[in-house]
Amino acid sequence: MKKSLNIVYGVILLTGVVFLLSERSGSMIGEGIAYRTILPFRVMLNNFHELIRAKEENDALSRMVVALSLKLQELREIQVENQRLKKILGFVQEHHRFIQPVQVVNILTEADNTIIICKKKPYTIVKPDLPVVGYNGLIGKVKEVVDDYIRIQSIAHSMTRVSVIDSRSRVFGILKWEGALYLHGVPLTGDVKVGDTLVTSGMGAVYPKGINVGIIKKVVRNRNEYQTTILVEPFENLSFQEEVFVLVKP
């Protein structure tokens, strides 16, 4: 083999070894060269892969949009049918409510009862006994309105009673605050399970039907008592809210 060939191989090999050793010793000559020379290409390559991923995601989302659109159409049909049947049966129609956002200015906790103080906009009309919700579920009801300030009695208040039903089994009960939220009025044979969602039943005329209230955390059936002890965790964090929404009747 030619001598020149051996020299070239030696130089190439030495270059590789130098790069390798420099990197192992921490001086990173090779890595520095790599990042300086190839960064634009690498960015381009990453963008290309991102584009492919985005296209795949876009396709999946498009399919989902079509599926959801069909589902929505189906649900609209069901809604129309529901309204027609309710009309035939003479059900009282629940009118839609306006959502009035109000800013929370203070949250008071007196003897384990939570009161939320909010400030409303001057031109809005808010009356007592209107339900108040958060992003995830029920917060409470308007207790009183003084000037632009609203006093909200939350569900974490010993004076609050909320009529609720189990969304799965349609078992009915009354929610009370006793240091924690408890569901009362469910017999020992009542079909309630941990993880069931409770929604407002619409009875009592304060809270409209179907607002999420909480989730059942614990069910205790004591034979010495006549009803099941059910611990409920509210969907809303009642100790901290930035804004809440009053459901105003039109």
């Binding site: 060939l5 070239v8 191989y9 090999l13 990197e23």
Partner: protein, 157 residues
């Protein structure tokens, strides 16, 4: 013309290996089509140009996988250097010469891929799950390419 075709193949091979690996990998084994390119390039072109191309290719591959910068340079240039050394002794027209391609592909994967596996056991396992099957794929691909080249040469005669 020959050099132009070689450049085109080089670009295609680099794109397969560096840019589109996820779309060309078989059972998560990297294609390393560049091994085939270097093998046939060394057979068809002058030793010096083959060695320089191997060094440059190694540098290019190191840029794209800079964790152990220099490994590709060493592996590719050694592979080509050994091929050049054997070129005078082995009758390359025979199919048996492709065994060198298998050995070379195995060596390159051993040098370039195995150090990335953390722990001895994983590195050892990767010899059988990545290096050997990868070399086998290279051998099969090389066989196909050799058959095509031989057929073209016969037609030319």
């Amino acid at each position: 013309m020959r050099i132009f075709i070689a450049i085109v193949f080089f670009i295609i091979v680099c794109l397969i290996d560096l840019a589109f690996t996820p779309y060309f990998s078989l059972f998560h084994i990297k294609p390393y089509a560049i091994i085939l390119f270097l093998y046939f390039f060394t057979l068809k072109f002058s030793p010096l140009s083959a060695l320089i191309v191997a060094g440059f290719t190694g540098f290019l591959y190191d840029i794209f996988a800079p964790d152990w910068f220099g490994l590709h340079i060493i592996a590719f240039s050694t592979f080509v250097y050994v091929e050049i050394a054997l070129r005078d002794r082995v009758y390359w027209e025979r199919m048996i010469s492709l065994l060198f391609l298998f050995a070379g592909a195995f060596f390159i994967r051993l040098v370039v891929d195995v150090p990335f596996y953390a722990g001895f056991l994983k590195a050892f396992t990767s010899v059988f799950t990545s290096a050997l099957p990868g070399a086998l794929i290279n051998l099969l691909a090389g066989l196909v390419v050799k058959i095509i080249i031989d057929a073209k040469q016969k037609n030319a005669i």
